[in-house]
Symmetry: D2
Subunit: 346 residues, 4 copies
């Protein structure tokens, strides 16, 4: 049984890790920390876990306890993991960081977007970007995995085959993405109140969002060269789910007919990417609570514009589920262990 | 491996049965019927099941195929099961009927509320009302189980200990219950459009709802005598979940202090009833997707009015989950097989 | 043109006052205060008012400016108005207090529920409880009106005729009430996040809510004697609207037939109470954005229990709209001025 | 007082016309038709209008009654208006058609997308496309106005200044648009049930939607030449509101700095277009229930991609409100009569 710790477990990512781990056959949570809620039983905050985590309470962070874990998840605000992981790595613990600390190669870009010095540049060089569909073998060997952001997961999976095969003009990619409100976290911010979010829809971060550089780096890895990408996030009045509608110009429109087969082939061995029939419309609820990314392709008349719609559950494939998938890979478990969860529809 | 059939599988109860059975360790769906959708792959209608039910398609009802099943679920409108089950019972197949056909003892009441003759009065006498918390041993032996309605499940579980112990005045019980829109089914009715249900709240059936006689019969079984119960359902602008707030007059207010212990004891061996701490507020999301009923008690000042709040997922404990629980009992499986699903929160 | 000030205008009640006053023919907002947002143009916070309040900005509270107003609305947390209104009253300004400071007659009860000393007991004696349907003539003469709470408005209007006519047992009234999330205000509280409120339903304050004593006092005024009332509020995953389902025992069940006529007569001259046909189901959306309270009566079989469903928009008839109605009465304007707003459906 | 008729008034567009006309100072509804609901009082279907339309009932269509109206709105499925308007025009009645019958210039395209012969090609040539921001003077003179579709209104208003000034590459415009569920109408379709739409998000019509040719024609009028536009609609789990995020390539990136001024100037005299500050995020709720279109511009880093976000209420500026605006123009009334409605926020 793999022993697992969670640092910063009071947010939506934390409870989602607990929900998944509650039925994981080969791993168990042994410690979960929270400075603000130390002492509170987990089930007082998350009654859905009554019967599953009855003995577990939040504790103050304790390096020694964490160092006894095989794997530790960081579900913390940015800036925490980069200061904490070295000690645990020294103790032989492996890390999946769900925050943004190790997601970017270019630390100057990181510093610009996150507004602080990066304090672990060497580890940033070592960290593996944990999108299993692009880095499975490296994740298996990694000590430190940077779990991708929610939007970047959907956008990269949707664009990958087009860029890897150099089929589209990389200089003007558009990613119009939409997320449910749980993506905004569980802090008491006025902007995320039900009274603000309910029955309304809007863009946010349209002039620049922290996931933009992460998306750009990922797409550049896939294409092997510079890309120009415009990324606009939107807030949906619902709790869970991301839909990304992607637009790219096919260099040779006659190639349109082979795209469906290309996508199907590219992801044929992927347990968590589902290429749906051409012209269908993936719904976020078709992945709610599950770790799947569903993708469909569209074409309008004889346009050269490839339209891709990709959906994920932002808390699962966009966060906790992908983190467990990475843990499974790092620990030599079945990649799908604990993640065999049919989505909740309706 | 128990072989399972579903009659009438295109509704929300049908997809929920499929979702649960997809991960059931000891049973599998071998046939699912739908007159209107015969030939359609199940995953075309329910893409959340892609990867789980890939070979399964809706078929025209076929008694022979169904008779080869160990258990058949009827997820049909009322009036269908009562005409169909005898043949299957003769073949040795056991039945869990999720419709209302066999829920009432008093067939004259049934006929009054459902507006048709009851065509299987003998079977109605044989059928066991499938609320495991009140009839576990009889369900184990039953050939034909009438799966309770969603509201009646929540209301009965909430009132049970008070009535079984004769602690409250049975002549004026009040059940103010609220349900998400999936309870209205998947037929194209104007009243259930998002444009009608969204961002609004209302009573419906306040002058009399079909679940009223079912609730009354259940409460009378528990109390051993006549009860007077007022039941008002409401429609919540959300998809899943029922909350029932129950009011009853304690005969002896000094007994209030022992109620919490009474509830905890009454349900201590129940895998799917969770008595929460006194004075807490069960949320429907704490049971979303799971088979649990969570209950909490409240008292205002020194009132003699017992307030009970009970929540279930109307599609799980209120329908498909309870049906699987009944199947498990009837087939000698673990009662919780396939139902060990932590609720999805948020 | 009546000159109006608002103290504490950044919350949902504040923006609602502004929306209504924006088209009021006989009154205009001349000052709106907010300590935290002083200097911010109102339309930066509330873009729906662009074009209506373009010159208006939040200012620090300034007694002199406020004293130049004919009427000042207090849309502040409890405890503010009781310390501030005397100065304004001395200057001849009339006050509508939307907070709870002057709603209760019994100040010891007030102190118990609000956890502080009441610092203006004389004014509390002078203040008129501003439910126009019960106190119209006194409101016309009042200097200081305590605008009722949202739940108390719906519950009182629904029960009034039954109690005034002494038709029901006053000792066991039940009010099961439900509210949209805007009732929780616009502070950054975790419990009111979309991620917490969305797609879920629950009771809250079931063991005792601040509106309980206000409801009790109101019902006792109507009945002329003590009442026993149980009040349980619930949180609906939507933004606006309250529905209250009320239960009372008719002393003489044969009187049931005259109740509809009684309600229609009681409210026949009320511009903002609509008695719907017997057995219909008022929807919260039928009053969204408008100042109307809609009420319908129900009976189940031959029960002696009277069921009343009453709906209001919590921000309009439950707060800002009723405040404007009170202002209209106090200033000798048409009672419906500025409030002739058809509700937004769907 | 202008006398107004509505043909086909039972849908969401119908009730919205009634809501607006209920407070219109210069016009009144004298007849409203519905074959299916003839005889039903309007307020039985739409209780929000109780007190406003109390004498009005749906009637069977009657050409003579309609011909006595000054203006008739058609809120019918496509194919009805084209067969009905000639008679009314002959009688001197003016027509605002809210259906698609007269929206397209190119009738072969119309026939392809709407699957039927166009039976009034001459009238199609006469009809004026009723986007007041582009055709105000012609609308004033028109006998027959084709009221624009909801998506086309938002997309055209958002793109107009860029195309009129030839600032962007017209060959690859992208319009990623999202709508609330009321846009799907009030027919009992399974796909529009709350159980299907609630808590989920998806594309639809991504391979081609009927509003695409209307958008293309409108943008070509604005640009004076062919345009290539990709239009993908999405379904938001809410009732009202459209947000369109538009992407275009600036021919000369150095022109970015003048875009804000250009938009402000272009719409400075428009009563129902609000250009918000650069870099802000229009919310659909900021226009809910009102006739406004709010627009904001964004740029990411130094990209040449212009990002425009435009929001409208699909039932108001996207349907009934714009229809009343057109009626006002046709009848020589104030353009804003009846439309001075602050949006409902929250």
């Amino acid at each position: 049984m793999i022993k697992v710790g969670i640092v910063g477990g009071t947010g939506y990512t934390g409870v989602e890790l607990l929900r998944i781990m509650a039925v994981h056959p080969d791993a168990e949570i042994v410690t979960i920390t929270s400075r603000s809620e130390a002492g509170m039983p987990v089930t007082d905050m998350y009654p859905n876990l009554r019967g599953y985590c009855d003995g577990l309470a939040f504790t103050d962070p304790d390096d020694q306890q964490l160092a006894e874990c095989d794997v530790v998840f960081f579900a913390t605000p940015h800036g925490v993991a980069m200061r904490s992981v070295q000690t645990l790595l020294n103790a032989g613990t492996r890390i999946v960081d769900l925050s943004a600390d190790f997601r970017l190669r270019d630390l100057s870009v990181w510093q610009q977007w996150y507004g602080m010095e990066h304090e672990a540049s060497e580890l940033a060089g070592e960290a593996i970007y944990g999108l299993p569909e692009t880095a499975r073998s490296r994740i298996r060997e990694a000590r430190l995995v940077a779990n991708p952001g929610c939007y970047p997961t959907a956008v990269q999976l949707g664009f990958l085959p087009l860029l890897e095969e150099r089929l589209v003009d990389p200089s003007r990619l558009i990613a119009d993405a939409k997320s449910g409100a749980s993506g905004g976290g569980r802090q008491g911010k006025v902007a995320m109140l039900h009274g603000e979010v309910g029955e309304s829809f809007k863009t946010y971060g349209a002039s620049g969002h922290r996931h933009l550089p992460e998306i750009r780096e990922g797409l550049e890895r896939a294409s092997g060269g510079p890309v120009g990408v415009t990324f606009v996030p939107h807030l949906i009045p619902m709790v869970r789910g991301i839909e990304a509608t992607l637009y790219a110009d096919l260099k040779d429109p006659s190639q349109f007919d082979r795209l469906q087969a290309l996508y199907e082939e590219r992801f044929s061995d992927e347990p968590f990417v589902d290429v749906m029939p051409f012209g269908t419309h993936p719904e976020t609820r078709s992945v709610r609570g599950g770790n799947m990314c569903r993708i469909a392709l569209h074409r309008q008349e004889n346009s050269s514009v490839v339209i891709v719609s990709a959906v994920i559950d932002n808390l699962v494939k966009g966060a906790a589920g992908q983190a467990v998938q990475n843990m499974n890979l790092m620990c030599g478990l079945s990649e799908t262990a604990g993640l065999d969860i049919p989505a909740l529809l309706p």
